[in-house]
């Protein structure tokens, strides 16, 4: 009797645990999950490891590191906005040397796959950062942050100019181990994101992270001054999800083969699914990790169920499925589609 009940309980568990193959690839980086953290939303993984096993997700994307220690911008650095937040941190960090000695060493000892995000103020600095990373272990990929809006000269966001973006990527590519995949993180604040995407692909990038924050602003009506000390800041969270998704979609249409890491306001498994259907090979959970420190792991689990519910046996089957030939869609009128 007891055994029979136990057996039934076991079968019930088996029936609900999704069997989806969650393995994912970003260029040559193979991962057991398509869910990563996002740069600037996970520090270097140590704090989040208290809430879930960081080796179980795709990878930790570390906070953008610069050549030297940097204090960042004054406070207030943050402001809540509808379904999102503005930040103006200004790339506070320890500098590459200390990052390698402490953070990267910890991640390697912990056995977490690591995508190291780098940020420079000049092409030369990006090159030097790549040189430093070339000679250390534990760098599974490099994400080149060419799109941080919180830099001194906001007219010099590399990702807003195809030539400048390509220069940075060429330099990093030259200075890096040829086996290390390099991703460029793009800004949505451009007229045509596919133009920038094409430029960095030509420059030798292995994949694209789509997208960074979008520049925004809030005025405090009590003080009647900008709410952030940095005046403007990067908008993130679910508020930018449709923009991020549109960017992934457009780039996938323009560049059918480039690996894409989709980022922007992902909160749940079905949010992640939207990005994968739009063409992302993997996704990052960013700002929503502030809301729920277990979010990357939870999104992984929810995504496995969401895929299985729709008949997908693996993540890879669902990639770009939203782009499938029009004849299997319902007949559609010309012009504006109805919102779902």
């Amino acid at each position: 009797m007891t055994r029979a009940m136990f057996g039934r309980a076991m079968r019930a568990v088996d029936a609900t645990a999704p069997t989806t193959d969650m393995s994912a690839e970003l260029a040559s980086l193979a991962m057991p999950s398509p869910v990563l953290t996002a740069s600037g939303c996970a520090a270097s993984g140590r704090e989040l490891d208290q809430f879930f096993d960081i080796t179980k997700i795709g990878a930790i994307v570390t906070k953008s590191v610069m050549l030297r220690a940097r204090s960042g911008r004054p406070t207030p650095r943050m402001c809540e906005t509808p379904s999102g937040m503005l930040n103006s941190i200004g790339l506070q960090g320890p500098g590459i040397e200390q990052f390698i000695e402490e953070d990267l060493a910890w991640l390697r000892a912990r056995g977490a796959r690591t995508v190291v995000s780098i940020a420079g103020e000049s092409v030369d600095e990006y090159g030097k950062l790549a040189q430093k990373l070339r000679i250390v272990e534990g760098v599974d990929a490099i994400e080149v942050n060419i799109s941080c809006p919180n830099v001194v000269n906001r007219n010099q966001v590399f990702a807003c100019d195809p030539e400048m973006a390509a220069n940075v990527i060429q330099t990093v590519r030259r200075q890096s181990d040829s086996k290390t995949p390099i991703f460029a993180k793009l800004s949505p604040d451009v007229t045509d994101i596919t133009e920038i995407a094409r430029a960095v692909v030509r420059a030798g990038v292995d994949g694209l992270t789509v997208i960074n924050t979008s520049l925004g602003m809030v005025i405090d009506v009590e003080t009647m001054r900008p709410a952030l000390a940095g005046v403007t800041g990067g908008l993130s969270g679910p508020a930018i999800r449709p923009i991020a998704l549109r960017c992934v979609w457009q780039i996938r249409q323009a560049l059918p083969d480039i690996p894409i890491l989709g980022v922007g306001g992902i909160r749940t498994g079905v949010d992640a699914l939207q990005f994968i259907l739009a063409g992302a090979n993997a996704v990052s959970v960013g700002t929503m990790t502030f809301n729920d420190p277990s979010a990357p792991m939870r999104v992984h689990n929810e995504l496995a169920i969401a895929l299985q519910d729709r008949g997908f046996e693996s993540v890879s089957q669902a990639i770009s499925y939203g782009h499938r030939a029009a004849d299997i869609f319902e007949p559609e009128d010309e012009g504006e589609a109805e919102p779902e």
Partner: protein
Amino acid sequence: MPVQVRGEVLDVRRAGVYYVLSVTAPGIPEQYRPGHFVTIGIGGEESGLILRRAFAIHQVQSRGVYGGTLDVVVGVQGKGTRWLSERRRHDILDIVGPLGKPFILPKEGVPCVLVGGGYGAAPLFMLAEQLRERGCRVDVVLGASTEEKLYGVLDIKRVSSMLTITTEDGSSGTKGRVTDALPGIIERNDSAVVYACGPMGMLAAVADIASEYRAYSQCSVEESMACGIGICMTCVLPVVGDDGVTRMVRSCIDGPIFRGDLVRWDEIGTIPADALGAPALDAS
């Protein structure tokens, strides 16, 4: 190590202009030390208010009918705190804690002063109890702009050697500020440690007075934070380290309790020019 738990609301009761929220939080009371805080998710899983709100832990009970429970004191300041004040019994909350570094307690039974501004009094109750258990004299000063913004006057009276109340409008206790009363208390009792929680301006003034009287001070700061666990870098303030170098440190995991004499109070909201990694003076 902090845990993330689903807590069940047991009670929300009014206390002056504040609300005291009692909630089950298995795993948190067991690890609690005075000064720890929790963060609470706002509005449920679909909420447009995506940032958790941070609260100093007011009281904990490790055992009892409900297992581990804790209380926080909520001052309604905006949509998020209003939502919390409107919770009812059996509602479920997403709670993370215990977070931050707690107050450091003296090894010996030295005289201590506890200073609370408004609902900043919240973390001082269990601190007072633990100090008393160590044989410390515990003087308490609570202050607010007006009587209804004082918190916990009757309760803290029970655990304090002497309680002093100040209000700026004179509606309760002595008219004035906590810092008007503090020097006399330190002098009379030869206080060795000053613990403080409240607005930044009050903390700065308390830290100055403590330094003046060569008392050690422990201040619990309130900086706006997005994550509470050390990953967002929004809640930084300039603090001098053991090596004499000023760094922009996270109030969530390097604090919220700081030695008052090490915080560069006047420069909060700036990057001091000599802080580690500060922009070079010749740049822009």
